[in-house]
Each structure stands twice: as C-alpha cells, then as structure tokens.
C-alpha cells in the first residue's frame, strides 16, 4: 500500500490559487523530489501535507488513514516530520538540547516532570547517536544560533529524524549553502534513504542534488501539475524544459 496519497488538493489565498488540484502518491522507501520555479506552490503543498494549512479541496491519506483534518502535532504523531525552507530550530539552546527535546517528545515523555536514571541514560545515548549521525560531534554543546547555516540545517534534519518519522519532508535542504555544505547534506540525505530505508519527499532547487538523489520527480508550475517521472524522463520532458529547466540553462 502507498504510504502517502494526496488526492486533488487545492489551496487558495484570496484569488491566488497557490496549489491547484494536485495529486501525488508516494510509495514506502521512495525518495521523491518536487521541483518547480519560485512561487510554484511547492512549500504550500508541504504545508497542506503537514497540517500548516488545511486544503480548500481534496484529501490527504497517510498510511491508509485520512489525516486531512488533523492538527499538525497529531500528524507528527502519525509519523510525518518536516524541515522548513528557512531553518527552524531553537536558536538559544545547544545542539544537544535541541535534539534532547525532540527525543523526549518522540519517546512520549513530553508531559513528564521526572525522569528515572534509566530513561535519562537512554535519552542521552540516543541524543549522542543523532549527534554522530548528523556530523555534529564537535559542536554539540554550542548554541545552535551561533553555528553555520549548514550545521543549523543538519541539526534541524536530525531533530526531525529524532521523531522516528515514517515520512520525512525536506523543504530546500541545501538552499543558501556552499558546495561543501551541499555535498554533506546530500550525503546525509542519501544515507538516511539508502541505509535508514526512510521515505523522503524533498523540495530542491539544485538540479545536481535532485538528479543525484531522487527516484521520481514531480514538477509544479504556478500551482499546477506539470509532469512526473524518473529523472531521465523529466530531463527529456519538453514542457518541463520550457517552463523550468530551459530557464535555468
């Protein structure tokens, strides 16, 4: 069964139709990329899947369950985690504290006023694991707000990962990064997908990243569906070339 089925969703902002009747099906283990020019509606589409907005029309089915009317936090509990186009972290807390909060919430301990030594040890171990995995070992006790853009992004991705999601949505994970940082984030995503068997949907502008990572690509333009297919199919698609790739070249 498909993990995520988005069925004919639309979102209006006044007279603007930011997302116009879009459908998308994501299979377990897939890495899907969404591309399209600025203002195409990609972020809004993510916002509909994660509950930031409710769609004007259409349904969202996650793992067989209709989540269209669920609040954001509940969708997280169902297993949908995300990062944002502009990095969202807890800037005055350290990397370790950022991850710790995430791990505690994921372990169902968010309302606890007290932790046993065993729980505490388990949480610390898991946080260390995430720090290692995100390549943040040397910076764990620094305030996230002081770190480089790339490290903040890595922290945000690891926070989402700490939730043990079944679907991870990444909104332009390499936006505004240099080549080295882009490479590192790309490698991280690749590991999560290949080794962690995680289902990922990512919005990305950097075509090298998209063609390197994606199993399938969906293209949006001005809120409308333009094309969908494997990377070679998209590269060969005439409509995509005129609307988007041609523009970039």
């Amino acid at each position: 069964m498909s993990l995520l089925q988005v069925k004919n969703v639309s979102k209006h902002f006044g007279s603007l139709v930011a997302v116009n009747n879009i459908s998308m099906t994501v299979e377990p283990g897939e890495l899907r990329a969404i591309i399209g020019p600025n203002g195409a509606g990609k972020t809004t589409f993510f916002n509909l899947i994660t509950g930031f907005f409710t769609p004007n029309t259409g349904r969202i089915i996650f793992d067989g369950r209709d989540v269209t009317d669920l609040l954001p936090a509940r969708r997280v509990w169902c297993g949908i985690a995300r990062t944002f186009q502009v990095t969202e972290v807890f800037p005055e807390l350290t990397v370790r504290e950022n991850l710790r909060i995430s791990v505690e919430v994921a372990s169902g301990m968010r309302l606890r006023a007290w932790l046993s030594q065993t729980d505490d040890d388990k949480i610390r171990a898991r946080v260390r694991e995430l720090i290692e995995m995100g390549g943040l070992a040397g910076k764990a006790d620094r305030q996230v707000g002081e770190l480089s853009h790339g490290d903040q992004r890595a922290t945000e991705i690891m926070m989402a990962l700490a939730l043990k999601p079944r679907l991870l949505l990444l909104d332009e994970p390499t936006a505004g990064m240099g080549d080295q940082e882009t490479y590192e984030i790309t490698q991280l995503i690749r590991r999560l997908h290949r080794d962690g068997k995680l289902t990922i949907v990512l919005i990305e502008h950097d075509m090298r990243v998209v063609f390197h990572l994606a199993d399938r690509i969906m293209v949006l333009d001005q809120g409308k569906f333009l094309a969908e297919g494997t990377p070679p199919e998209i590269a060969a698609n005439k409509a995509v070339q005129t609307a988007y790739l041609g523009q970039a070249a």
Partner: protein, 323 residues
C-alpha cells in the same frame, strides 16, 4: 548532592550557595545595612511573585499582564479563611493557593490561543474584572478599605509553637521555608522534559508544534502552574500585611511584577528576585524622601532596559563569564 556537584559547573554551585546563605542570614546582616527583617520578608514574597510571572515570561515566552489577579485572589482567599472560617495559617495558604490557581486554570483555558500583545491584553482585561469585584463587593471583600482585620496565626509544630505573628524573625524564616519549597518546585519543573517543552515553545513555537508538541496544551499547563505559584505568593502576602488590598489585583501591580522580572533578568532563574530587591529597596528608601518614588524606579527601569537588555543579573553573569 554529590552528583549535583559533579554535573553543575562549580561557579553555578557557588552562586547558588551564596544566594541561600545570604537569604538564610538576612535577619543578621540586614540591620547592619540599615534594613529591617520585615523588609526581607516582603522581598521574598514579591520576589516569589516576580519569579512566578517569569516562569511564564522568561521560560515559556508568554507575557501575562494580569498576574496580579492570581496574586490578589490568593491574598483574599487566605485572608477570608483567617477572617471568616478558621484560625489556621496553613489552611489560609492552602485555600488562597487553590482559589487563585484554579481561577487561573479556568481563565487560561479560554485564552491560550491568543498570542503576544493579544494575550497580554486579554490578561489585563480579566485581571481588571477581579479588581473591580474586590473593589465593589464590599460586604465580603471590604471594598476600597481592603479585607481586615485578620491575623496570621501561630504555627503549631507538634512539640513547639512558633509565634510568627509577633516575632518578625520567626516569620521571616517561615516565609523563607515557604519560598524555598516553591522555588525548588519551579527549578524541578524547569529541568524536566515538560520544562524543556516550555523552552522549546519560547524559542520557536512553530518548530515546537512541528515536533509534535501540542503547544496550546503546554502553554495552558505552564500558565496554570504559574498561577498556582502566584496565588501561593499572594497568600503569603496577606500574611505579611495581615491585610488584603484591592490594589494588589490592579494591573499596575501586574506591571510591577513584570518590571521586577525584566529588570532583574528574565532569562535567569534568580533574576526576578534581584529585581524585587531593587524594587522594594527603592520603594522603601526613596519613598521616605519623595512621594514621586515611582518616577525614579521608572527611570531606573528604562536605564536597565537600555543598557542591560538581559537585566541586572544577565549583565553580572556576562561580566563573570567574560572574566
């Protein structure tokens, strides 16, 4: 304790020890500086109230401008027990704390969806409602004159009786114990997983929500806890004065608490206590020189906010860390 010493940076433990030593020895060193014990008692109670406001403001990032309401309800609750129902200090404190805390919990449920200025406005509005009730309902509350007479009662401790009414030093230590219990509870909560979700909401509400924290529920719990602490401080304040004043519910009183918290340093746990020290000392000394003491404290407040945006304690801490 051993573990605490190991985990905490030594400087922090030293600062903590210094604070408690100063508080415990206050009745001895205060007279040397021209103070008197009752002044110390007032600082503890107002400091606790400012710390309760800051529990919400500094650690959840939510500004309530009506917290004097819970403080006042605590004071009236405690006073009414002593005046009308039973001559028992602990019962008065318990009743005041519950009354203010529960009222806060109910109101909190109605307003947790508001944010920022809107939240502050709604809290002012509701706070004023309680102020007018206290002011108008003279037959029960004493109206403009306040609630009196009632007196804090001696404490029966099984073997001995502690006369907290006439012995100012005994009363100071009683309030210090009450203060310590509340402060320990606050510190405990702030170090728990729940406390960390408060920080998460303060730091970035959107991120918190999309980590799966139901933000409204957590703000409501933090608000309610803060109201209970506030009402507890209010109950103690009724005992300090043997009197409950309707002005204690007024929004200007809420403003004073916020001012203490901001002046002392709202990102630091102890900052609001320091703010209360400055406030009470100013009030006591400057008001004996001029009736316009509030202008001076207002001026001081502006200076602190301009030059030490993290408050007095924040500035001290920065200097210590830098050295």
């Amino acid at each position: 304790m051993k573990q605490l010493l190991k985990l905490e940076p030594r400087r922090k433990v030293a600062a903590l020890a210094a604070i408690w030593a100063a508080l415990m020895a206050a009745p001895f060193w205060m007279p040397l500086l021209g103070g008197y014990t009752a002044l110390g008692t007032r600082v503890l109670v107002l400091g606790l109230a400012a710390m309760s406001v800051n529990f919400l403001l500094g650690f959840t990032g939510v500004l309530s401008f009506g917290h004097a309401a819970w403080f006042g309800i605590g004071a009236y609750g405690c006073g009414m027990i002593l005046k009308y129902i039973a001559l028992s200090t602990p019962l008065g404190i318990l009743a005041g704390t519950l009354a203010g805390g529960i009222a806060g919990a109910v109101l909190g449920a109605l307003i947790v969806r508001r944010r920022g200025v809107y939240f502050a406005m709604v809290t002012i509005a509701f706070g004023q409602v309680f102020y007018y009730i206290a002011f108008q309902w003279s037959s029960v509350t004493g109206g403009d004159d306040g609630l009196r007479p009632f007196y804090r009662q001696p404490l029966h401790l099984g073997v001995a009786t502690l006369d907290i009414l006439n012995n100012a030093v005994a009363f100071y230590y009683f309030v210090l114990v009450c203060f310590a219990l509340a402060v320990a509870a606050m510190a405990f909560i702030l170090r728990s997983p729940f406390g960390r979700t408060m920080l998460a909401i303060r730091e970035n509400e959107r991120r918190a929500r999309f980590l799966g924290i139901p933000v409204e529920l957590h703000i409501w719990i933090a608000f309610t806890l803060s109201c209970f602490f506030m009402a507890y401080a209010g109950s103690l304040y009724a005992l300090v004065n043997n009197f409950a004043d309707p002005r204690g519910l007024h929004y200007s009183q809420s403003g004073d608490f916020v001012m203490m918290a901001v002046m002392g340093g709202m990102r630091s746990f102890w900052g609001p206590l320091l703010g209360a020290v400055v406030f009470v000392v100013f009030q006591d000394y400057v008001s004996s020189i001029t009736i316009n003491w509030q202008i001076f404290i207002g001026f001081l407040f502006v200076l602190v906010v301009l030059f030490f945006p993290r408050g007095i304690l924040g500035a001290i801490r920065r200097t210590v860390v830098a050295s």
